[in-house]
């Protein structure tokens, strides 16, 4: 049994999708998440098991709306999608079925069809990516559009584009996910075969009328590459973990907690919307300035803990030389605050 499998215990490995890979770029400094993700641990269940569940569900209505939009685009041999993309030539093939036991077969088929290079639309191609020393299958949710000599990633999203503008968070999340696909396709086919320009197909204004917008994801690609190469070192970290570290959910909670304790976290408020462990990590980070957010921490001279900040501000503690500047600022701030209140 490999070290990674032992970490996970009896549960099957959590599969990656573009969203989970994209999430790895969110908090690159966090070892805890890197290890948990590399080992394919189900973080939602882990967080629940230790008593810190998060709210990471998705609304049925949002799902239904997204599915309806996609179905509408793909109806009648993708008539509407084709007219949105201007892609009238070539066939449409769905590599479909999201089943575990056909993964390798589907991957082989994807590879041969894409290598073939025939013009057309290929739905749900099954891709792989090297994440932290492991080859992971990417649950596909894209269409590869072979157009001339280049392949273009097409993503169907259900957030609306209103008067040419869309929600910034949604667009940047979509761009990172598309970059994951571009990267996986490039690793399979070579860099020059896959365009760095991806197409988002979204509903326009307040209707279901689709509109296509092109995004350049070069920046996201380089962030992703950097992050994935850093993650490669996680495998050596995993093998250096003590033998009794395990996230097998069948263990008692104290054992899980002490295992978590061996993995250094780097909590920031952004974790709350990106990582399933965030409620636990926030609890653990209580009393640290980082938990108040980066701008607050910086304004407090980068000091680690709130106790330290208050002790220096009140003059109860003498600063060590490295803290002298921060301490002087805090003392002045405290004096001004007292005077004004």
């Amino acid at each position: 049994m490999s070290q990674v499998d032992r970490l996970r215990g009896s549960a099957p490995g959590k599969r990656h999708n573009a969203r989970t890979v994209a999430a790895l770029t969110g908090n690159p400094g966090c070892t805890r998440r890197a290890v948990l993700d590399a080992a394919g641990i189900d973080k939602v269940r882990l967080a629940e098991r230790i008593g810190f569940p998060g709210a990471f569900g998705q609304s049925r209505f949002a799902l239904a709306r997204g599915n309806a939009f996609e179905a509408m685009l793909k109806a009648d041999d993708c008539a509407l999608l084709r007219s949105t993309l201007g892609a009238y030539v070539g066939g449409y093939e769905d590599l479909g079925a999201d089943e575990d036991d056909t993964l390798s077969a589907r991957h082989a088929r994807t590879r041969s069809m894409l290598n073939d290079g025939a013009e057309g639309l290929l739905d749900h191609p099954l891709l792989t990516l090297e994440v932290a020393g492991q080859t992971v299958f990417l649950e596909p949710d894209l269409i590869a559009y072979q157009n001339g000599s280049q392949l273009q990633v097409v993503e169907i999203k259900s957030f609306a584009i209103l008067d040419g503008q869309a929600d910034g968070t949604a667009v940047s999340a979509a761009a990172v996910q598309a970059a994951v696909y571009v990267l996986a396709l490039r690793r399979m086919l070579g860099d020059d075969r896959v365009s760095h320009e991806v197409v988002l197909v979204c509903p326009e204004n307040f209707s279901l009328q689709p509109v296509a917008v092109v995004l350049d994801v070069r920046k996201q690609l380089s962030t992703l590459r950097r992050q994935l190469s850093r993650l490669a070192s996680v495998s050596s970290l995993i093998s250096s973990l003590p033998d009794d570290v395990s996230f097998d959910l069948a263990q008692p909670v104290p054992a899980l907690l002490s295992s978590l304790d061996t993995l250094t976290a780097r909590y920031a408020p952004e974790c709350l919307s990106t990582c399933e462990m965030s409620v636990y990590c926030r609890h653990e980070a209580g009393g640290r300035t980082a938990a108040l957010g980066r701008p607050v921490r910086d304004a407090l001279g980068g000091l680690e803990t709130v106790d330290e900040v208050l002790a220096l501000a009140s003059g109860a503690r003498e600063p060590d030389p490295a803290q002298a500047e921060a301490a002087a600022l805090l003392r002045a701030a405290q004096r001004l605050r007292d005077e004004a209140l």
Binding site: A55, G57, Q58, S59, R60, F61, A62, L63, A64, R65, G66, S158, F159, A160, L162, D163, G164, P203, N205, F206, S207, P269, E270, L272, S273, G287, T289, A291, L292, G293, P295, V296, R297, D298, A299, L300, V306, D307, V309, L310, A313, L329, L330, A332, A333, Q334, L336, R337, E339, A340, L341
Partner: protein
Amino acid sequence: MSTLVALARAHALAAGRAQPIATVRHLHVHDRPLVLIPLAMAGEANAPLAALLGDDVSRPRLLVVGQPRNRDERFAFTADLADAVVPYLESFAGATEAVPVDRGRDVRHRFVDAPQVWVPNPGGADFLRLLGRSTRFRRVDGDHPVPPSVPRLGQWLTFLASSAEVPGSSLLVNAVQALGSHWATGQSAAEDAHFGSLFAWITDGARAAQEAENGPVAGPATDPAFDNEVLAPLIASPSPAMAGVLRDLLTPTWERMWKSIALLRELPVGARVGLRWDSDRDAYSAFVEHLTEDGTPQPRRDGAVAAAARLQRLENAAARYAVQRAFDDPLVMADHRLTGAAFGAEVTLAKADRIDDSGKRPVLRPRIMVTTTETVRVEPGASLTSPARPSQKAKVISVTPGPAGTDVLLELSGGMGRKLVAEPGSVPAVGERLLLTTLSEAYRPGAAFPDPAETPWTHGGPPPHREDLPVA
């Protein structure tokens, strides 16, 4: 983030209780505000699900879209919302007052009051903006006619949403921002965005805030678990229970909204808040005039010239708001003292009758020397102001650091009457504590922009004459 606010957050965390970051209230709080809590349907751009609204805490009015997928029900909702909101908004277009303009050579009229709408959070304001966008172009004739109140509502919501972008405006207020600019909590800004949690930090402390986090949302987005477990069955088989469920969901937020308003109302009001409300009344008056005279809906997007002019207005408003807040509030001014843009000092010498007769005619130019131990980041030639004498300018003549503090020599002009002898009390006396700052309330005139009709097409003008199409 200023160090003072960050320090207040640290104190809040240690105390388990929100800490004040303002000593006065920096926004106008209306005697009869309208509270409006919108709730949206997940997955769609701006599809309303419900709204709880009213101008009386004891009489909330609930509007519900029973079948969100039914277009007709949605339109009926918008029409109901228009009937509930537009009369409130227009009820202030009554009594007017005359305001002198052009140095008193002329007068213009403005309404003595204006509406004030409260939503829980920035998302609520954004929802209203999009609702304005989706309804203001709707047609009252043709294939899918709507009642005239619907496009009217759209124009009003667009007006409110764009005024909310002006720093210091109080026509459309979101409670998260209003509370957050007066209290600091011991959590991050991301967590403060949860209205219930922010409110609990202020009223009951950290533990209550943690509970509120898992409590009902303040909209416009619903909680996915609520969608899946509660709402989905109710929509699948339409039931009269839906209104009750939504009312229960929104009622805690309704109560917190009114308590927030009361909490803010209790704070002593800042001296310059009234000036900004005057500007709000000006904007309201101008918009009412636009509606009665021309009435065309606001364009989808500003042309280049209008956009540049608007950007400059927003920048000016931001600068004015920052200065006014500092002048009104010693705790806000403390931020500037920390960075050296303001300092407290004591007057050590004063020559109140000094006359400068080097020019064509003699002028009164008293000089004072002040001493401070605070950081001073001003250069000779700089112009300082003191909030206690805002119409008086103090020009820095020299800055001399010494062992016991820094001596700053100042020459005063303005705010001393029209004679060659200063009015009593207008020149600071020896021993007086003064606050001096480089911040200035002086009006900064904006750049001149070309008329839109004379703008080259490369910069967006002249606007094409095409009819705006109705949007489904």
